[in-house]
């Protein structure tokens, strides 16, 4: 079942490399153990485990650089690993090689409260950072759901439910320290620099954001922080149709309401959530909303939004300000993944991830639902409707090759439907292993050539996470 070939493990080159790794990171910093390698060969996607030949655990950037130099000398693939919570198979070691587990580099470094910035090492997860920051009144709002490492989030250009107000990783990474394939250490915005904006040179920082480990290993990220809002209000509202829900979303944004979260659940998903949590939401398209601000501004935001939803045929508008009731209101949305899985116990789930301009959202959701029904597939829908991004949570039996094939074909059709509507095949999960062909279709040959040229310049030996993205 393991794809790691025993013969490559016995190759002399690898043995010499492993000895060199040990001299850099000590015996505890290098592992050939089968369980450890398997753990580092999989993430939370449906792609099968592709374990590396060896896992190293560097403790500082100098070690990362030294280890990378050894890999470079011995032509060994390098796969950076954060928390393994990715959804596109980005950490699979397709050609074997060395997994760089960054979990021991877990310090929050320089926090500058008045400047709203902080620098973190790659082992720091977003929940750990927000816990660290809790006394300062600051937080890092990008919330992809999982407790991912922040550098991993930078690597996949992660987003989440808050993006409509706070942006994605692209807008919130100020500087990166990167170790390139040959061990060179660079600072994409200059060492230690953290101005809130800059026009200095090419935007190297955002070149690495979203590069999914194919251009370098991220060893430090300087992040933009925000003040924790004074108050939050959560709300739920049901709609007679997908169109009505999306129209409301567009109008709320046009009204200038600085809405923090606006999430869409389709009727199938609401049905699943009702069963899973013994709730009784009307089984129709539903919006879950969250507002941030001072108590006064919240009153205004909620009242404008309520009016808009009413004008679009919305009903059962419920809202709450205290934490426990808010959590109850949003429980359906929080448990969407598990509620979907519960529809068919024993099955696995795969999340699609297309993103289109807002105005095309009703059409693509309607067409997608028709596709699901026509092909007898289970795919409840949850979406970050304020960004035009939605996920079909495909629940499938991995042991049924026919269903696996139908799901695969469905996701290809869905991606192409999104591309045809001026959208993208991946709004926030990344390209990883499964969407490389779609990326080519999305960008077209000229842009692809430029990307390939950049890759060839930064990693001529193609050692950085080979087989991903391009």
């Amino acid at each position: 079942m393991l794809s790691c070939s025993v013969c490559s493990l016995q190759s002399e080159g690898l043995e010499r490399a492993v000895a060199a790794f040990r001299s850099v990171s000590g015996d505890e910093g290098v592992s050939l153990g089968e369980a450890v390698r398997e753990q580092h060969g999989r993430d939370e996607s449906v792609h099968r485990c592709r374990p590396p030949d060896v896992v190293v655990f560097p403790r500082c950037v100098e070690e990362v650089s030294a280890l990378a130099k050894i890999c470079h000398e011995h032509q060994l693939p390098i796969i950076p690993f954060g928390t393994g919570t990715g959804l596109e198979g980005g950490v699979g070691a397709l050609k074997g090689g060395v997994c760089f587990s960054l979990r021991n580099m877990d310090q929050v470094l320089d926090l500058h409260q008045e400047d709203f910035d902080v620098t973190v090492e790659p082992g720091v997860t977003r929940k750990a950072l927000n816990s660290y920051l809790r006394d300062t009144g600051l937080w890092f709002p990008v919330d992809p759901g999982a407790d991912a490492s922040l550098c991993g989030m930078a690597s996949t250009s992660a987003s989440g439910t808050n993006a409509v107000r706070y942006g994605t990783m692209r807008e919130n990474v100020l500087n990166l320290e990167v170790v390139l394939a040959d061990g060179t250490i660079i600072h994409t915005a200059g060492r230690g620099r953290r101005p809130r904006k800059t026009s200095a040179g090419y935007n190297l920082t955002n070149l690495f954001v979203g590069s999914e480990g194919t251009l370098g290993i991220l060893t430090k990220a300087t992040l933009r922080l925000y003040g924790i809002p004074e108050s939050m209000v959560s709300a739920v509202c049901s709609f007679p149709s997908v169109q009505a829900a999306v129209d409301s979303t567009v109008q709320v944004l046009q009204a200038g309401v600085p809405i923090a979260r606006i999430e869409f659940l389709d009727d199938v998903m609401i049905g699943a959530c009702n069963s899973f949590n013994s709730l009784s939401y009307p089984v129709t398209p539903t919006l879950f909303l969250e507002f941030h601000g001072s108590s006064k501004s919240l009153e205004e935001q909620v009242s404008i939004t309520e009016e808009i939803t009413r004008d679009n045929g919305g009903s059962d508008f419920a809202w709450a300000e205290d934490e426990e009731t808010r959590a109850k209101l949003w429980k359906a949305r929080h448990d969407a993944w598990y509620a979907s899985l519960a529809l068919r116990p024993g099955c696995k789930a795969y999340s699609t991830d297309v993103c289109v301009p807002l105005s095309r959202l009703p059409q693509i959701i309607v067409e997608t639902k028709e596709d699901l029904i026509r092909n007898n597939l289970t795919g409840p829908i949850a979406g970050h409707v304020g960004d035009g991004n939605f996920h079909c949570i495909m629940v499938l039996d991995p042991n049924d090759p026919d269903e696996v094939q139908r799901v695969h074909e469905f996701t290809e059709r869905l991606a192409r439907r999104a591309l045809a509507m001026d959208g993208t095949c991946t709004g926030e999960h990344g390209v990883g292993l499964g969407k490389r062909a779609l990326l080519r279709e999305e960008l077209g040959p000229m842009a692809m050539e430029v990307m390939q040229g950049l890759k060839a310049t930064l990693d001529p030996k193609n050692l950085m996470n080979p087989g991903k993205v391009l």
Binding site: S131, R134, D135, T136, G137, I228, E230, S231, E324
Partner: protein
């Protein structure tokens, strides 16, 4: 309506930090280590602030004992909604040897001085998982071995907070800024008539023994043999 609630808040090493013992075994390393409010004290503050929001108490006063730095902890309590703070100045050797006996004397003296009807503290002892004020009595539900026990007590009273009492709010940035205007009064233990001499002396601090790796055995005979070897049976 009960007038005043006193809440004790303690500045401790942050729960996410890995504690290390000093090389000379006299204590744990605290220099340069991240400190924050004891999580149970956060729950206590949250409960007090909620009582105020329900208009069951008029004023929440946050108290901490220690050197200058504990004012940060008091400020966090103010940002969460406490009205004013009291900093009981204890530093140097006195702070190193400050123990539960001295702190309880200090809090008792303060509770009297401030005419507090209720003192809420982070837990030790029996714990409250729900607190309501009913006229001039407090109804407390507390968790005991057999389940839940509901008791009604007179005020003034001391209540300690359990994990399940509430989820503390984050100190938001606007509230932190507003809290800067709230007052923190300083007072010395002597002014409260409390003697800080400790009757305890710390002799030595050590890390717990490292966990040893286990050993796998193939048969029951092996297991019995190994246990005999180790003198366990």
């Amino acid at each position: 309506m009960a007038a005043r609630v006193l809440v004790g808040v303690k500045r401790v090493i942050d729960y996410a930090v890995k504690i290390r013992v000093k090389p000379d075994n006299t204590g744990v390393v605290t220099d340069g280590v991240k400190h924050s409010m004891n999580p149970f004290c956060e729950i206590a503050v949250e409960e007090a602030v909620r009582l105020k929001e329900k208009k069951l108490v008029k004023e929440v006063v946050a108290v901490s004992c220690g050197p200058q730095q504990v004012q940060e902890t008091i400020r966090t309590a103010l940002a969460m909604g406490a009205d004013r703070g009291i900093h009981v100045e204890v530093s140097g050797k006195d702070y190193d040897t400050l123990g539960p006996l001295q702190v309880s004397k200090i809090l008792a003296a303060l509770a009297k001085k401030e005419e507090a009807s209720l003192v809420i503290l982070g837990k030790q002892g029996t714990f409250a998982s729900e607190v309501t004020i009913d006229g001039d009595k407090i109804k407390v539900i507390r968790e005991i071995d057999g389940g839940l026990e509901t008791i009604k007590i007179n005020m003034p009273a001391v209540v300690t907070a359990d994990l399940r009492l509430n989820t503390p709010r984050y100190a938001t940035l606007p509230n932190i800024m507003k809290a800067k205007k709230k007052k923190i009064a300083s007072v010395k233990p002597g002014e409260l008539g409390v003697d800080l001499t400790s009757r305890l002396e710390v002799l030595r601090v050590e890390e717990p023994a490292q966990r040893q790796a286990g050993v796998k055995v193939e048969t029951v005979e092996d297991l019995v043999g190994k246990l005999k070897e180790a003198g366990r049976i």
